[in-house]
Symmetry: C2
Subunit: 439 residues, 2 copies
Amino acid sequence: MRSSQFFLPTLRENPTEAQIVSHRLMLRAGLVRQTAAGIYAWLPLGFRVLKNIERIVREEQDATGCQEVLMPTIQSADLWKESGRYEAYGKEMLRITDRHEREMLYGPTNEEVITDIFRNGAKSYRDVPALLYHIQWKFRDEVRPRFGVMRGREFLMKDAYSFDLDFAGAKRAYNKMFVAYLRTFARMGLKAIPMAADTGPIGGDLSHEFIILAETGESAVFCDKSFTERDVLSMNIDYESDLEPIVKAWTTDYAATDEKHDAIRFDAIAPERRVEARGIEVGHIFYFGTKYSEPLKAQVQGPDGQNVTLHMGSYGIGVSRLVGAVIEASHDDKGIIWPESVAPFKAGIVNLKVADAACSKLCEDLYAKLTKAKVEVLYDDRDIRAGEKFAEMDLIGLPWQVVVGPRGAAQGKVEFTNRKTGEKQEISAEEALNRLTAA
Amino acid sequence: MRSSQFFLPTLRENPTEAQIVSHRLMLRAGLVRQTAAGIYAWLPLGFRVLKNIERIVREEQDATGCQEVLMPTIQSADLWKESGRYEAYGKEMLRITDRHEREMLYGPTNEEVITDIFRNGAKSYRDVPALLYHIQWKFRDEVRPRFGVMRGREFLMKDAYSFDLDFAGAKRAYNKMFVAYLRTFARMGLKAIPMAADTGPIGGDLSHEFIILAETGESAVFCDKSFTERDVLSMNIDYESDLEPIVKAWTTDYAATDEKHDAIRFDAIAPERRVEARGIEVGHIFYFGTKYSEPLKAQVQGPDGQNVTLHMGSYGIGVSRLVGAVIEASHDDKGIIWPESVAPFKAGIVNLKVADAACSKLCEDLYAKLTKAKVEVLYDDRDIRAGEKFAEMDLIGLPWQVVVGPRGAAQGKVEFTNRKTGEKQEISAEEALNRLTAA
């Protein structure tokens, strides 16, 4: 993509409404624009990040055998009356009356709809275990939406639902999601720590929040250092095997948010192993048994011919929230530092002198070759000041910068910069190409 | 995917509420379920088709240089008051009041929001031409939703918007979309015919509908046979070149819907060249000049320093509607016949006797090899009657069926069936593998 053609309205000034760094940077770097309180439009640069995060979430859900569906955003109130949550949900639910005066709502979550779909579609024990997910926009009418996409009203969420004959089956589904979540966040360069959680309005017995560490996190967290040392991506996961040992390994050491903090247990950890940090919730998993299947009569016929009320769980990841969370975890004074897995482009080419024929030729050549090799690259081909180009590249945080000036170009050289470490190397254009096209 | 694990709740009986064939088949084949009047959930099989259609739409939009964004579903009423459409839109607009008593709405279209984003982000003539699109759910509160996803209330639409300094620029954008639309529909195996259209509530001067031919189409259409003979996919399109000759070639011969039909012009065509058929609208493009940019003051500074009010166009494709439209255009008595480009799986393997070791071994082997080669395949590994398996495979319409029985398996043979032509061939399993893995 050429900067001269790319719709990237960056801001020079810090927007006054943004109180946290991710919100500030998302507005400044032209990722999003607020269109109403707590509601955002994703501009081309932000959209690319959102899609990358969504792709990672999807790949890891698919790997567990979870099947993707897509439920609508607008739901009938009827099912919520059946489950008993219609009144209970309160003002956070966006209630709507359609032209025929029917009570509708914008789904804040989908337990009722998926349970309805499954009870109508599944007949016997042969139809379970089942794991279904979707990635869809939700709406929660927060009193005071803030922090940009971190606490917006309309937000993109991945929610999965499991259906099993009994607790043992449900726990297997829970474990699959638990492990998939560890992998999902790790692939985005995040250290996510599972912490036992209250089940809140979704209800149920067994629940974990996944909290990532970020200096600017919303709440205090306390944990054993072991969590920061584990590496789930190097493990070979077979989702059909017993995952309990992995889940156990990730739930035995101490880890708690402020609300559930137990100072006595924490203080029992060796001082150098104690981590006190800030955290951001990015995922939440629940086992809630028959809380919805009971009132909604979601049953299948068991092997013995008797009807069995299904055991269920639900498993959420805040997809749009993660864009903010990644920034909270990875930025500096100059701007965002994208991990390669979610970066909107892998590299940026900075043409320092568009009027210089050799300089532009080298840039064009590199751009053409990278594009051909399907490396996503943003080529700043605009005739503006070099300082402006550098500032924008740092702000938007692409992992690699290839800076081409007239002097270097004359020798076929470029400056190759790692956005994260700041390390700069003068290398040949060919070498830059090789590095960027290498896996 | 194994049928034993796939959530595919098919129906044996024709659902009484379904009046048209695509609605009937989408319910019967387990593609969608209605969750409220005119609102559908996409089950795993239907979701795969929806994603394939969305992918083709996206690839063809991207090819034109159009940049993807994502606008929210919920909009503030303020912008619609600015454009003057808030009152005009009538009851089809789903109006919402949030907890702070602010007037909101579920976007039926996005001219206002995109114009607002662009007027705030673009400053000078250097920021145009610009083409932006998104693929997002829309809501139109139809009085009488019907025909399944063909006329639902919540539907997925691709809408693109162009911004230019003048009519000439806007026409270039219009032509890009015109050609991209021809390619998009052709890739789905559809014959789409552009027909001059009324501009309706969107307003403007220049507009074409893209109508596909289907026996069960919603309206009568009349055109020259030439439209059914053209092949846009074999052309090498350069979107930066002048596309006017292509657009001209596709707009010169007679083509009109019922409403705009001119019997005198039609009758002037040689009788054997006259096509009277039924059609379904799947896309609509508009040039509407300054209709929105004027009231919303969307301007950029021109080269001479003077402000220029932008010329705009909008370009829609009914993504979820296309799933129904493809079925209307391609089905038989037994069920759906998916074109390969949008099929949920390329092939189905039918194991005729799960209890037969050689038969199951051959199936498992073929399934493993196809999966490894990334060919999407549905393997019916269930222990149910062969007749039931055949009926379901025909109903869900995968392009190729590989039928494996004990007798053939003993000789390494399978029956290889083309769903569309019905042609059956007895070939070796290896040959079947080769055919399915060949591009």
